[in-house]
């Protein structure tokens, strides 16, 4: 059988993929070309046999799967010999050492969760009442909003440095004369209150409020 230029249309024709026009041209062709007709007839029987016996071909799918599984098992078995297994163990150990011993050291230090005197925490806070604006005279007392019973407050007053620090269970405190003496008109001061529970745990911090004592 010689090769015919229409031969590639055999499958397309039998699988009904040709347009009506191409189908008619091909039909006219095989009425004239015995080579194409013989191939067409043979291919038709092959395709119909395949169509009617898919199980013959599907069995190979199981074979393909089983052959893939078999080769995987083979590879696994080859891998699970003592030498590669020992190598894998050593590699895993080295990786664990790197993860747990070396990597943490090279990282930045963990954040510090202890508050210094100059730090504040967000969340629970104390509202300062007085003084919160500029004063004509040196204030004689400091007052803030009460948080609850059994709370100890620590007040600190600063200008460029810490001027005075005191504790009280009240929500106000009178400024001692010796501290008043250190304060002078025209200067800026700031104050802050921290609240502690009876066991000494910091429970609230106020914002640091500034006030200025008017000059004479």
């Amino acid at each position: 059988m010689s090769k015919c230029k229409f031969e590639h249309l055999i499958d397309e024709y039998l699988l009904n993929r040709l347009s009506e026009k191409d189908k008619e041209s091909f039909e006219e062709h095989y009425f004239n070309c015995s080579s194409c007709f013989e191939k067409l007839r043979e291919r038709d029987i092959i395709i119909r046999t395949i169509k009617n016996n898919p199980a013959l071909l599907l069995e190979d799918k199981a074979e393909v799967r089983s052959s893939v599984l078999a080769s995987f098992k083979k590879e696994l078995a080859a891998f699970l010999t003592p030498r590669p297994l020992a190598l894998a163990g050593i590699t895993a150990l080295l990786i664990l050492i790197v993860i747990f011993a070396i990597v943490p050291r090279s990282q930045a230090p963990a954040p510090n969760f202890f508050l210094t005197d100059e730090e504040t925490v967000r969340g629970s806070s104390i509202t300062l009442i007085s003084p919160v604006i500029d004063m004509n005279n040196i204030p004689s007392s400091f007052e803030w909003k009460k948080l609850g019973d059994n709370v100890e407050y620590q007040i600190s007053i600063s200008n460029h440095q810490l001027l005075w620090k005191a504790t009280t269970k009240e929500n106000r405190i009178t400024l001692p004369d010796e501290v008043k003496a250190k304060m002078s008109p025209g200067e800026k001061y700031s104050w802050q209150v921290k609240a502690f529970s009876p066991d000494g745990t910091l429970i609230a911090v106020s914002s640091r409020v500034q006030f200025k004592i008017a000059g004479r």
């Binding site: 009425f31 119909r48 395949i50 013959l56 071909l57 393909v64």
Partner: protein, 165 residues
């Protein structure tokens, strides 16, 4: 001379009967009981027209026979449509039981299919059974379209080899 014409007619029938039969079965479905009658009728028409001098050699004899076949198929479908309103839907892929030869071929093809290596079986399963395009088969198998053509063509070659053995 009459002997010569008889020989020509014999040759014509031997050559065109299978082609006409193939075309008719493809159009009407091999289960259609009228197929054989229609084929005989078409052959008679062809011989009659040739004897009446209607074949003047303007086209090839093949094209002449094809035209008569196609017209008769169209007429048959039209007649049936009138009677039944709708022509019967032909079964697309009936078992090739129409001839002893086809049945024998089919048995040999089955044997050849069983012997094929999985890669060829998978390719022809997707291409002929599932009717995927070469591109779709290529995507499924993770190979090139060219490789799909090679797999299908080689599988066909092996089946043909079995048919010729």
């Amino acid at each position: 001379m009459a002997h010569r014409i008889d020989e020509d007619i014999q040759e014509l029938v031997v050559r065109y009967r299978p082609i006409i039969a193939f075309r008719v079965r493809k159009a009407l479905g091999p289960q259609n009981v009228d197929c054989e009658d229609l084929v005989s009728e078409i052959l008679s028409q062809v011989l009659e027209k040739i004897q009446n001098g209607e074949f003047r050699g303007d086209s090839s004899l093949g094209t002449f026979v094809y035209t008569i076949t196609s017209r008769r198929i169209v007429d048959y479908i039209r007649e049936k449509t009138k009677v039944m309103k709708y022509a019967p839907e032909p079964a697309p892929y009936p078992d090739p039981q129409e001839s002893l030869e086809a049945r024998e071929m089919s048995e040999r093809i089955k044997k050849a299919l069983e012997r094929l290596k999985p890669k060829y079986r998978e390719a022809i399963y997707l291409y002929y059974y599932q009717e995927l395009s070469r591109e779709e088969v290529a995507a499924r198998l993770g190979v090139s379209t060219r490789k799909v053509s090679e797999l299908v063509n080689y599988a066909l070659k092996l089946i043909r080899k079995e048919l010729k053995s």
